[in-house]
Amino acid sequence: MSTTDRNRTANGDASATFDVVVIGAGIVGSAIARKLAGHELSVALLDARDDVGDGTSKANTAILHTGFDAKPGTLESRLVREGYHLLSDYAERTGIPIERTGALLVAWTDEELEALPGLKEKAERNGYDRTEIIGPAEVYRQVPHLGEGALGGLTVPDESVICTWTTNLALATDAVRRGVTLLLNRRVEAVEERGGTTVLRTTGGDVTTRWVVNAAGLGSDVIDRMFGHDRFTVTPRRGELLVYDKLARPLADKIILPVPTSRGKGVLISPTVYGNVLLGPTAEDLTDRTDTGTSEKGIAFLLEKGRKLMPELLEEEVTATYAGLRAASDHSDYVIDADARRRYVLAGGIRSTGLTAGIAIAEYVAGLAGEAGLELVPREDLPEPPRMPNLGEAFPRPYQDAARIAADPAYGRVVCFCERVTAGEIRDAFRSPIPPAGLEGLRRRTRAMNGRCQGFFCGAEVGRLLESRGACVPHENREHGGERRSPEARR
C-alpha cells in the first residue's frame, strides 16, 4: 500500500487548528486522546510511525498489573492500581482478551525467601492485600513443571495477562470514533509558539494546535526539551523475549515472577492470551532508541535462566524472538506535569506499567490540563466503545464459530494455519477504522503469521492479502470435493 493511500484512509485533515494534539499513539497517548475527545474539543492523535502502537506499546510482557510491587506512595503506584480496574472494565466492554492467570513469585535463594514478607507488606501498602506466602510444596503443586530448587513463593492471584495490541487498538479506535483525527507518519521535529497557538513542525507538514500533550514514549524527553524543559532523560532499556509454541502452554498456566533483589527484577515466565509462553525479558540500557534487534548475549542469557526456571520449556519450539525498548527514565516515578504558560502537558517516564495504567494516566492528564486552563465540557453524544476482534485463546474465535461461518464463509477459510486466522478476519482488519499499514500491523490485529511456521505455509498467501488489502479472497471451491487447480496446473 502506498503512503498516499494510507493518508486517505487513516490520516485526517491536518490543516485546521486543533484544540489539543496528543503526540504518541501508543497506549498512553491513545487513552489520553480518547479521554479528551469525550469533551467538546477538537483533538488530533499524532505519531511518527505509520501505525498506532508501533513503539514501546507493542513489545512488552503484556501483564495487567495489580501494582503490588510498585513503590508505595508514588504516582505510578496510584495510577497502576486505578488503571487495573479501569482497564479490566474497559476490556470487558470492548472484548480485549484478558486471562486471570494469577502470578507466583518464586524464591530460589535464602535472600529471596527472606524478601517475601517485605513484598507482602509492600503489596498491602499499595492497597493490595490478597498476596499469600506459600511453602515449596504448594509452589510445586501450583506449578508442577517448575525447575528444581524453589524454596517458597508469594501468590498474587489477581495479576493477569492481556492483549497489549488489542488494548492499544481499542483505545485508538475509540478515539477515532469519538472524532479524533489520527495523523500518522508525522515525526515532530520542532515546536514553534505562534500567538496563542503551538505549531508542530513534523515530517508530514505543520500541525497547529492550542494545547499539546506529550506522550511520545521513547521520544518524550526530546519533545519536552523542544518546549524548553530539561527535567528527565529517557534511556531505552532493551528487553529481549522468547516466545514458545502454544504446545508449551500447559507447562505454564500462571505468571511466574522472580523475586526482585538488589540485582534487578530478573526473568519471568508468563502465559500469553494467544496461548504461548513468554520467557524474558532481559534488561539492557542502550543509547540507540531504535535498536529493537535481538542479541546473541540476550538469547544465551534467557536460555540459561529458562533452563533453571523450567527445563521442560526449553524442549519446546521458539516461535518468536523479539526485543522491546522500555522508556526507562532517570526518575523513579512517572513524570506527569502541566505547563499552563505553554499550554503543554507531559506524560513521560512511563515504563511498562503504562499498559495497565494508561486509562488512569489519561484521567489524571485530563485533570491536570483542566486545572491548567483547558476547558473541559463533557459531550453528551459519545458513541459506544468499539467491539474488538478477539485474539485470545480463552474466548471463541471465528474459525470455531459455526454460525458465523455459515453466515460468511470467509470466516471458515483459514489462511494462517498455525494461528488459525481466517480470510474474514484479515479482510475485517483492512476495513476497520484504523487499518494496518503493513505486515507487522496485520500481525498485531489478527495474529496472522505469528505462529510456529512463521510463514512456511501461509507467508506467501498473507503477503498477497496484504497487497490486496484483504479484499481479494481468491476464488474458492464451493462444492464439496472441489479443488482449486494450482497456477502451474494451468500452464
Binding site: L242, V243, L247, T292, G293, T294, S295, E296, G298, I299, L303, E317, V318, T319, A320, T321, Y322, Y399, Q400, D401, A402, A403, I405, A406, P409, A410, G412, R413, V414, F417, R420, T422, L439, R452, C453, Q454, G455, F456, F457, G459, A460, E461, G463, R464, P474, E476, N477, R478, H480, G481, G482, E483, R484, R485, S486, P487, E488, A489
Partner: protein, 425 residues
C-alpha cells in the same frame, strides 16, 4: 460422494467416512489411492491448503516420483498425478479444510468455508508432513528485517503466488532442499552468493551436488553458521561464523533462505495425546504405522523429517494395508520391542517392532545421522549383547535419511529389552 448430513443446531455438519486422512501430500494421497477401492465406506482426505498435492506443488524442478512411480518428473506434475490417482480410485478430497482438534478417539473437528464439520471416522491417518524450522526456532539474533524465508515460504511466493524476492541470496544449509531453494531463487532472478553448512562437507546427493555446483558454482562455506541478521526494515547482510576458528564476517545480501532443519507438523498428534518419539518429534509408530491410539495411524514425513516425497508416498501406500486390517477387526500382535537410536544417530523409525507385523516399508529402517561416515558398520545391541552387525556400502550423511536393511532385525529377541542401533568405528 460425500456423506453430508444437514447441520445440527449448532451449525455443525457430521460426516462419517470409513477413513479420514489428514493431509493431501504424497503420503496421504497414496494412502487414499490404495484405500478407496478397498474399503466399504468413504475415504475422505482433508487438506488445509487451497489445492491438494502437498509440498511438491511448489517444488518446481525434476526429481519426483522416482521410487514410487518409477518416473522422473517435476514436483507439480507429481502432485497432480497423485491427486488424479486418488480421485480416480474414488477418494474424496476436500481442500481449505483445516482440522482444528479432536472431539473423540477418532473424531475430528474441522473448519471449512462450507462450515464446521465433525468427522467421525473408523480410522484416522495422520499425514501432516513436516516444515522447516524458521528463524526464531533457530535462535538467530539480530534485526527483524524483511527478506528472511524458509524454502517453503520462498517456493510458495515464487511458484504459487508468482511474487518477487531479492537479488542476492545467502542460503543456510547445503542439503537436498537447499539446492531446491537455489533452483527457485534462480528462477526468480535472484543470485545465490553463498551457501553455508555447519557440517564439514555439503551433504546432499552426489548427483545433485556435482550437477548443482557445476551449474551454479555457488560458494559453499562449510563449518559455518549464520550468526546474525542485519538490516531493517529490509535485510542488508548476514554475519557468518566459522565454527572451528570463530572468525566472523559480513556477507551482503537482501535474501536469506533458511533451509532444512525439519520438524514434523505434530500438533494434531500431540493434541490427541499420542506418544511422540523424542528423536523425530513425530508420533512413535510400529512397522504397521500404528500410533499408540487405536485406529490412528501416521505416515510420511510426519514420521521421518524429512525423506523424499516418493518415500513418503510409499509409506502411505503400505499403511493402507494396516488400516484395512484394523477396519476388518484385526488385532495388534502381542509383545513389542523398542528400537532406540544411539549417537551419531539422532533418530530411527519405525520405533516399535512386533513379531507378526509387516516388515518396514521397502525393508528399510530409516535413520538420521549427525556425522558423515563413509561406510558405516551398523551395530544392533539388545540386553547387553550385540545381536547384529553389518557394514553398509553407502554413507551415513547429515541432512538426509540413512537407510538400514530391516533384515538386521531378524536375530532380535521379540520378548527381549530395547534394541539400540549405533555404529562401530
Amino acid at each position: 460422494m460425500s456423506t453430508d448430513t444437514t447441520p445440527d443446531n449448532a451449525g455443525v455438519t457430521t460426516l462419517t467416512p470409513a477413513v479420514v486422512i489428514v493431509g493431501a501430500g504424497p503420503s496421504g494421497l497414496s494412502a487414499a489411492r490404495e484405500l478407496a477401492p478397498r474399503v466399504r465406506g468413504e475415504v475422505l482426505v482433508l487438506d488445509r491448503e487451497s489445492a491438494a498435492g502437498g509440498i511438491p506443488r511448489h517444488s518446481d524442478h525434476p526429481g519426483y516420483g522416482i521410487r514410487d512411480m518409477r518416473r522422473f518428473m517435476s514436483g507439480p506434475a507429481y502432485a497432480r498425478r497423485l491427486v488424479e490417482q486418488a480421485r480416480a480410485a474414488g477418494a474424496t478430497i476436500r481442500t481449505n479444510a483445516t482440522v482444528t482438534g479432536w472431539a473423540g478417539e477418532r473424531t475430528l473437528e474441522v473448519t471449512t468455508p462450507q462450515g464446521r464439520l465433525r468427522v467421525e471416522a473408523g480410522a484416522v491417518v495422520l499425514a501432516t508432513g513436516a516444515r522447516e524450522r524458521p528463524r526464531p526456532g533457530r535462535l538467530i539474533p539480530g534485526d527483524r528485517g524483511r527478506g528472511v524465508y524458509t524454502t517453503g515460504h520462498l517456493q510458495n511466493i515464487v511458484h504459487l503466488q508468482h511474487g518477487k524476492v531479492g537479488r542476492r541470496a545467502v542460503i543456510a544449509g547445503a542439503e537436498l532442499v537447499s539446492w531446491s531453494a537455489a533452483l527457485t531463487l534462480r528462477e526468480a532472478g535472484c543470485a545465490t552468493v553463498l551457501m553455508t553448512t555447519e557440517y564439514p562437507r555439503p551433504d546432499s546427493y552426489a548427483l545433485f551436488n556435482i550437477g548443482g555446483r557445476a551449474f551454479f558454482r555457488p560458494r559453499i562455506a562449510t563449518r559455518t553458521r549464520v550468526s546474525r541478521i542485519i538490516g531493517k526494515p529490509d535485510l542488508r547482510a548476514v554475519e557468518i561464523e566459522n565454527l572451528d576458528t570463530g572468525a566472523r564476517r559480513i556477507v551482503e545480501c537482501d535474501t536469506l533462505v533458511l533451509t532444512g532443519d525439519w520438524i514434523p507438523d505434530h500438533e494434531l498428534a500431540r493434541a490427541a495425546g499420542i506418544t511422540l518419539d523424542p528423536g523425530t518429534k513425530g508420533p512413535l509408530v510400529d512397522s504397521a504405522f500404528r500410533t499408540d491410539r487405536p485406529g490412528v495411524f501416521a505416515v510420511g514425513n510426519l514420521l521421518h523429517p524429512v525423506d523424499t516425497a516418493d518415500i513418503a508416498a510409499i509409506d502411505g501406500a503400505r499403511a493402507a494395508r494396516s488400516v484395512l486390517a484394523w477396519l476388518n477387526g484385526g488385532s495388534t500382535p502381542d509383545g513389542q520391542v523398542r528400537l532406540v537410536a544411539e549417537a551419531p544417530f539422532r533418530w530411527v523409525t519405525p520405533e516399535v517392532i512386533r513379531r507378526g507385523d509387516p516388515a518396514p516399508a521397502r525393508r528399510r529402517l530409516l535413520l538420521w545421522s549427525d556425522r558423515f561416515i563413509p561406510f558405516p558398520r551398523v551395530v544392533l545391541r539388545q540386553d547387553g549383547k550385540v545381536v547384529a552387525r553389518k557394514r553398509l556400502w553407502w554413507p551415513a550423511s547429515p541432512g538426509r535419511v540413512f537407510r538400514v536393511p530391516s533384515i538386521m532385525l531378524a536375530s532380535v529377541n521379540p520378548r527381549g529389552g530395547p534394541v539400540s542401533i549405533g555404529v562401530e568405528d
